[in-house]
């Protein structure tokens, strides 16, 4: 694999873009290192970290024992002592074992110790689901972590963000959870050269303009929104798509502005419904917007409130698809006469 650092615009995939982010960080920032399970294996984390150990050495690209809690705590400790570690959890479900270090420690130290202790750690959590893997190999727990003050949570949906939000996360002085999704690894795009930008400058972004309804997603669900927008476009429905990108701290201004114009909102969330992130988006709109500006009740498309099944018969209907998103959007629009 070529080293893309310093090259001009080039086409790349989502997984490779993550790797480009690592190459940039590890070559330009001596205080960056990465630690987690599978970093010396060619298949653990898809193609997102291939051969980094060979390029940057096994001291900065550290494969580990099966010890999520200790590895995360060690990253927190190194972050307190001047490093910018990226701890890798090849599956978000396994990261649950590290919850204490993420929630009680990394997210709290700066505030609790009077602003004197900084924890610039990035916790990379990979969503990896489907394929009949079942309840403990499928979870998208972004809502859970977005609930925690002090922990920034980002979900790249685009190839560019896969690289650039990683870089912004690692260079941020706060703990950041960076959540990528294996279902996006085949996306491709042309990327410009890297420009380092502060994470605090990032937030929800309109990725497709329209006038009839506002579709909101994060990570893979943004991709679903875009697919649904294509379906709707064929029916002369113009959907806006907003990619939230940063779930915490959440800045709803772009969504409010859009819904103010379209009067219709459908939020698509890869997590469960109850107390999920889609509810936060809808609540933010409901609180801030003049109710008369809403032309229909806001909708959400989420997972059903059930663990992921393994059997094909049950898995087939478990994950929402673009067609369901389009159906939900249509339901928020006035009925049309069919030709």
């Amino acid at each position: 694999m070529n080293d893309p650092t310093g090259t001009g615009p080039h086409e790349t995939g989502y997984g490779e873009a993550i790797r480009e982010g690592f190459v940039h960080l590890l070559s330009r920032h001596r205080e960056v290192f990465t630690i987690g399970q599978g970093l010396w294996s060619p298949w653990y984390v898809g193609n997102s970290m291939t051969d980094l150990d060979k390029l940057f050495g096994k001291d900065r690209v550290i494969d580990t024992p099966v010890s999520e809690l200790a590895c995360t705590g060690a990253a927190v400790g190194a972050a307190l002592c001047g490093y910018r570690p990226v701890v890798i959890h090849p599956r978000m479900d396994f990261m649950v074992l590290a919850a204490d270090q993420i929630i009680n420690q990394a997210a709290k130290w700066h505030h609790m110790l009077g602003g004197q202790a900084r924890v610039p750690v990035t916790i990379r959590a990979i969503i990896n689901r489907g394929g009949e893997q079942g309840a403990q190999h499928s979870q998208a727990l972004h809502s859970w972590f977005a609930h925690i003050p002090g922990l920034r949570v980002v979900m790249p949906a685009s190839v560019a963000d896969a690289r650039d939000l990683l870089i912004a996360s690692v260079l941020c002085d706060d703990p950041v959870m960076y959540i990528d999704d294996r279902w996006l690894y085949d996306q491709r795009a042309v990327l410009p050269p890297v420009v380092e930008r502060p994470l605090a400058a990032e937030g929800p972004k309109v990725v497709r303009s329209g006038s009839d309804i506002t579709l909101v997603g994060a990570g893979y669900s943004t991709w679903l929104c875009s697919q649904a927008a294509d379906i709707l476009a064929a029916e002369d429905i113009d959907a806006v798509v907003i990619d939230v990108r940063v779930l915490n701290p959440f800045e709803p201004a772009a969504i409010l502005a859009s819904v103010g114009r379209t009067g219709r909102l459908c939020v698509v969330d890869g997590g469960w419904r109850n107390a999920g992130w889609a509810a936060e988006v809808i609540a933010s709109v409901a609180e801030a917007i003049d109710p008369r500006a809403l032309k229909a009740s806001p909708r959400r498309v989420t997972l059903a409130d059930a663990p992921a099944p393994t059997s094909k018969a049950l898995e087939a209907g478990y994950y929402p698809d673009a067609r369901q998103v389009a159906d939900a959007a249509r339901a928020a629009l006035p009925p049309r006469r069919t030709a």
Partner: protein, 351 residues
């Protein structure tokens, strides 16, 4: 390893060139040992068939095969009763079958069928067979270790002489909960057998890159818990160690760790040998370990003792293969669970 001297404390037990000879068996024990051999064959061929279903594309759920490690499950299971409580991990086909779970219900589960061990809701990595004393397996590494401790606590509160057993790998001993669980079991004097199948690998990574020693038993020493380390490809050695430790637990003498040194012939997941994903896994090692095949060693021992002829063995294997072929056929034609199960099974009580 960088910066520290790594030492194999297991020595010959981790060297596939050793312990390859036929097992020494007494003729008097012939019938019982033939049964053990048969159970190992059932496990081997069931997993082989599951591997074929993966290749065919019918089984998609991740399947971690224990081919090569059959003697551990069988040796321990022979010392357990249906009233004991055993728990497994991601690689638990062998535990389920050794305890008496049926190949058909395992294969059906792998295919996501309603007749499966977990009624089609779990797949290969989430198995259940309470009627044979198998109280569940899950793929979160280490998760069932404290759960087994809880089952041991329940057994102690029950006042009988049941024991709890946790089957797990060497990788699981790197999770903190393993150490917490051992300590809790020791201080509470619980009837728990911790069974570590030390196959020297955690997915792609050799134990040499993960721990300062290859002997898992040292953790029991630290917790002042009884431990035995045996050749995990010798079903008689495993059985003897299990007998000692399980009987002690039944007598109220507390928990113990049984370390069985073994090796998987297939890759971490799926039917291939997967050398490409192992940092240190070499074809020469796989081939060498096949010389230490637990099935062949017992077969050769039984033949040498005059219990079985080569033809008897071939007939036994043919019978097993035929039975499993039928089990595969039944599993293939079994129905899928009703889609209502997705919602109806979320809560035990009304929603």
């Amino acid at each position: 390893m960088n910066g520290r001297a790594w030492q194999s404390e297991l020595g010959g037990l981790a060297d596939p060139a050793q312990f390859t000879e036929p097992l020494r068996v007494g003729k008097a024990d012939g019938a019982r040992l033939s049964d053990l051999l048969r159970t190992m064959l059932v496990i081997r061929h069931t997993e082989d068939q599951i591997g074929r279903l993966v290749v065919e594309g019918l089984a998609r759920t991740p399947c971690h095969l224990g081919i090569g490690q059959e003697a551990v499950a069988v040796g321990v299971a022979t010392r357990l009763r249906a009233t004991d409580r055993a728990f497994g991990n991601h690689r638990s086909h062998s535990h389920f079958l050794a305890l008496g779970g049926s190949p058909e219900s395992l294969i059906a589960e792998v295919l996501g069928k309603a007749s499966g061990a977990s009624r089609g809701m779990g797949g290969s990595m989430h198995l259940f067979g309470r009627d044979v004393g198998f109280h569940g397996s899950v793929p979160i590494v280490g998760a069932t270790i404290p759960i087994a401790v809880g089952a041991g606590l329940a057994a102690k509160l029950d006042g009988g002489d049941s024991v709890a057993v946790a089957f797990f790998g060497d990788g699981a001993t790197e999770e903190g909960v393993f150490h917490e669980s051992m300590n809790l079991a020791v201080v509470s004097d619980l009837p728990v057998l911790f069974v570590c199948e030390n196959n020297l690998f955690s997915s792609h990574l050799d134990i040499e890159f993960r721990q300062p020693s290859d002997r898992i038993g040292r953790y029991a020493d630290a917790h002042r818990m009884r431990t035995l380390t045996v050749d995990g490809n010798d079903v008689l050695a495993v059985e003897a160690a299990a007998a000692t430790l399980v009987e002690a637990a039944r007598r109220g003498e507390g928990p113990a760790l049984l370390e069985a040194v073994t090796y998987r012939f297939r890759g971490h997941v799926g039917p291939n040998e997967d050398l490409d994903v192992g940092v240190h896994r070499r074809m020469a090692d796989v081939q060498a370990w096949k010389q230490r095949c637990p099935i062949r060693r017992l077969r050769d021992g039984l033949v040498a003792a005059g219990v079985l002829s080569g033809e008897d063995f071939a007939a036994m294997e043919r019978e097993v293969v035929t039975d499993i072929g039928q089990a595969v056929g039944l599993a293939r034609s079994a129905p899928y669970p009703d889609v209502s199960a997705l919602h109806d099974l979320v809560y035990a009580g009304p929603r």
